[in-house]
């Protein structure tokens, strides 16, 4: 290529076409995707996070949980996400529209968290479970390589009084020394509130119908 101008125009066009073709067109399709109104209950889904859960989302972001955890459930037949009870259905685009930063993640060093707060799928996943998981992961998930987030908790001396309402329950070698209790800080409480809020329970009829798999092979199909 002799012509510097030709080079510039080509280079510019590639970026422009890529931005327009991928990002702009996707934005036109999904940029204003809004909540769905259930016809019977007249409730809007997805529902926003509570204030504490929203703060917890910031803690999630701050601690970089996205490095090891995804938040996307793949559809049935594409991997074992549904069989592992990581969700009752595949995640849809609409599930994420109310989140200010969408962290679907790229790495599954740890399990998917999209429905971590769903007690229907994981009956053991209550607040106590999450506190113990954060403080001493091995106590509730043996064999895990998740690091301990003990810095999100404080150790208080009991000095003869009753344990605090919020003190976390640990047994065995993870329990604090006699006369001490472990109390979650505000960040820990927010993070656990966020984790408990993670459940995609609503089954949008539009998405469910559009994504229903083709039953039979099409003629001339591949």
């Amino acid at each position: 290529m002799k012509n510097g101008l030709a080079l510039f125009l080509g280079v510019f066009a590639i970026l422009g076409l890529s931005w327009a073709g991928l990002l702009l067109s996707a934005h036109r399709q999904l940029g204003s995707l809004s909540q769905f109104k259930d016809p019977v209950e007249e409730t809007l889904y997805p529902q926003p996070l509570s204030g504490l859960a929203n703060q917890g989302r910031l803690v999630y972001q701050d601690l970089g949980c996205v490095s090891c955890h995804t938040q996307q459930v793949r559809h049935e037949g594409f991997g074992s996400d549904i069989e592992r009870k990581w969700g009752q259905r595949a995640s849809y685009a609409r599930d994420y529209i109310r989140e200010s930063s969408v962290l679907i993640g790229q790495s599954r060093i740890g399990p998917d968290l999209r429905n971590a707060g769903s007690t229907e799928l994981h009956s053991y996943a209550d607040a106590d479970y999450f506190y113990s998981l954060l403080y001493a992961p091995q106590s509730v998930a043996p064999g895990t390589n998740m690091p301990s987030y003990a810095f999100l908790f404080e150790t208080h001396a009991l000095a003869g009084r009753q344990p605090s309402y919020g003190a976390i329950k640990l047994t065995g070698r993870y329990a604090p020394a006699a006369g001490y209790e472990i109390v979650p800080t505000a960040r820990a409480r927010a993070l656990v509130a966020y984790l408990q809020s993670l459940k995609d329970t609503y089954d949008y009829p539009t998405e469910r119908n559009l994504n229903a798999p083709a039953e039979t092979a099409k003629e001339g199909g591949h």
Binding site: M1, K2, G4, L7, F8, V11, I14, L15, L17, S18, W19, G21, L22, L23, A26, H27, L30, G31, L33, Q61, D62, L63, G64, V66, S67, T70, Q72, R74, H75, F78, G79, S80, E83, S91, Y92, A93, D95, Y96, E99, S101, V102, L103, I104, G105, Q106, S107, R108, I109, G110, P111, P137, A141, P142, G143, T144, N145, P147, S148, A150, F151
Partner: protein, 486 residues
């Protein structure tokens, strides 16, 4: 003949002199970041098989170390090294000096300040959590301003070129110089300044990451390969008439391939399908570039043995082919289903950043730095150690991440395998990776020592000066000369 030769030589010496200090500053900072980022990467890797390592303090928790390491390596090492190499090569191929190099010092300062603030911000908990865009918002403008200085310099140098013809390396350099700031600025706007809604965010992120690797790092590596092969071997690129086709096809398809990182994600399926189709089309330029570059290297084993630059470039070319092959494989849904979210996808990005780009930069440095400083490398043992560790590290990490990732994927795909078992099975592969990273780190330390001896004004007084002779002209291959037409 003699006078034109000495004129050309004088020009080259002038160019090198004008580029000396900016390149040394950029490359020196790049090396510091390489070691720092490498150390952070090693810590992150150790934490995966020894989770108690440095887990007590929030600043060193795994979730903060991983993005800190990635950003230090990409923006600290990768961008600085690319600036150093790109500025020098653009000046050389435009046969014009780098004017007003003082501004480039300002750029280097700003860039390094920005990256430092960014890494500290990540470690302090202000990460944005978007892949390769984790540095907090306040560094964006600093980095863009610093880049603008460098980019303007590269483009200006190109536009005032003294040469009639534009060589392949210049296409790649020019393209990369243009694409990066737009990719970065658009991603920052659409993710942080005026965030788009819902799953459009991961889409913008994937577009940016794929663009950064495919439209910045790979073109830089290819620019190096296309330049150093004829430069050192003294023979032209094989089948060069295919090179323009490869360039346009490569960058055109890479620009649309970002969606392939989102297979199975809750984005409209056409996005990942488009990305997959683009990756399938990528076969053509990869094959052509392999023909160009490996064809030129064919039968040149003697020259490879004598030249450390050529050996690094060879690893770079092989890394490029391997990374592209992995890209292709990861676009096949059946394969992606199993190995998504595992070490295999990490391998694809690592191959581009290290096996393709970093090795090319090492090769370039071994050629450029003696010319800029006028001195030799003091210890050839360290040079050999660096190359050996790079080659060994690439092999170890490729094998380890590929096999470990495949095992991980197989176990993830089987719902009956409890997650704890997967972690136990992977402990060996995480440790394997730590060993590989340590090997690489040792080589980088060897390189840094040699660099200090050649570049640092105080230490290099005892290093021998290098005597360069004027290189001969490149000859047209005999068959073409016989045809006798232009």
């Amino acid at each position: 003949m003699n006078s034109t030769e000495s004129n050309a030589r004088a020009e080259q010496a002038e160019i090198d002199a004008s580029a000396k200090w900016p390149v040394l500053v950029f490359f020196g900072s790049a090396l510091v970041w390489l070691l720092l980022g490498g150390a952070l990467q090693l810590i992150a890797s150790i934490q995966l098989h020894t989770p108690t390592f440095l887990s007590a303090c929030a600043w060193t928790t795994h979730g903060r170390i991983v993005p800190a390491a990635q950003n230090a390596l990409v923006y600290g090492w990768g961008m600085n090294a690319a600036f150093a190499f790109g500025l020098w090569l653009m000046a050389r191929l435009s046969a014009t000096t780098l004017r007003h190099g003082g501004w480039l010092f300002v750029a280097a300062k700003f860039w390094n300040v920005g990256v430092t603030l960014g890494i500290l911000g990540i470690l302090g908990g202000y990460s944005t959590s978007f892949e390769l865009l984790e540095m907090p918002r306040y560094v964006t403008l600093i980095l863009l301003v610093a880049y603008a200085l460098v980019g303007v310099w590269a483009v200006t140098t190109f536009s005032i070129r003294n040469t009639e013809n534009v060589y392949a390396s210049q296409w790649y350099l020019f393209g990369a110089a243009f694409w990066f700031p737009w990719l970065y600025a658009i991603a920052q706007i659409m993710l942080l300044k005026a965030p788009v809604r819902g799953v459009l965010q991961p889409l913008v992120n994937a577009w940016y990451v794929h663009g950064l690797y495919g439209l910045w790092f790979i073109p830089m590596a290819l620019a190096a390969a296309y330049y150093f092969l004829p430069k050192i071997l003294g023979k032209p690129i094989a089948n060069y008439y295919l090179a323009p086709l490869a360039f346009w096809w490569l960058v055109g398809t890479t620009a649309f391939a970002g969606g392939s990182r989102l297979i199975g994600s809750p984005v409209p399926v056409w996005i990942s399908t488009l990305g997959g189709a683009a990756n399938f089309l990528l076969v053509v330029p990869v094959v052509v570039i392999a023909i160009n570059l490996l064809g030129t290297l064919a039968g040149q084993t003697a020259a490879l043995g004598r030249s450390i630059t050529l050996r690094f470039i060879l690893i770079s070319i092989l890394g490029f082919i391997l990374a592209s092959g992995l890209n292709f494989a990861l676009s096949i849904r059946g394969f992606a289903q199993v190995v998504q979210f595992t070490l295999v996808t990490e391998l694809r990005d690592w191959l581009i950043l290290y096996a393709t780009f970093s090795t090319a930069m090492f090769g370039a440095a071994y050629f450029i730095l003696p010319r800029l400083t006028g001195r030799e490398w003091r210890s050839s043992a360290l040079v050999k150690a660096h190359f050996g560790s790079a080659a060994l590290g690439v092999i170890l990490l490729t094998v380890g991440l590929a096999y470990g990732g495949y095992v991980q994927g197989q176990m993830l795909a089987d719902a009956k395998v409890p997650f704890g078992e997967i972690t136990q099975a992977l402990t060996f592969w995480f440790a394997f990776r730590s060993v590989g990273l340590l090997v690489l780190l040792i080589g980088h330390v060897a390189f840094l020592i040699n660099f200090a001896w050649i570049a640092c004004p105080i230490c290099s007084n005892e290093t021998e000066t290098a005597q360069f002779r004027t290189p001969p002209a490149l000859n047209l291959p005999k068959a073409h000369a016989a045809e006798g037409h232009a």
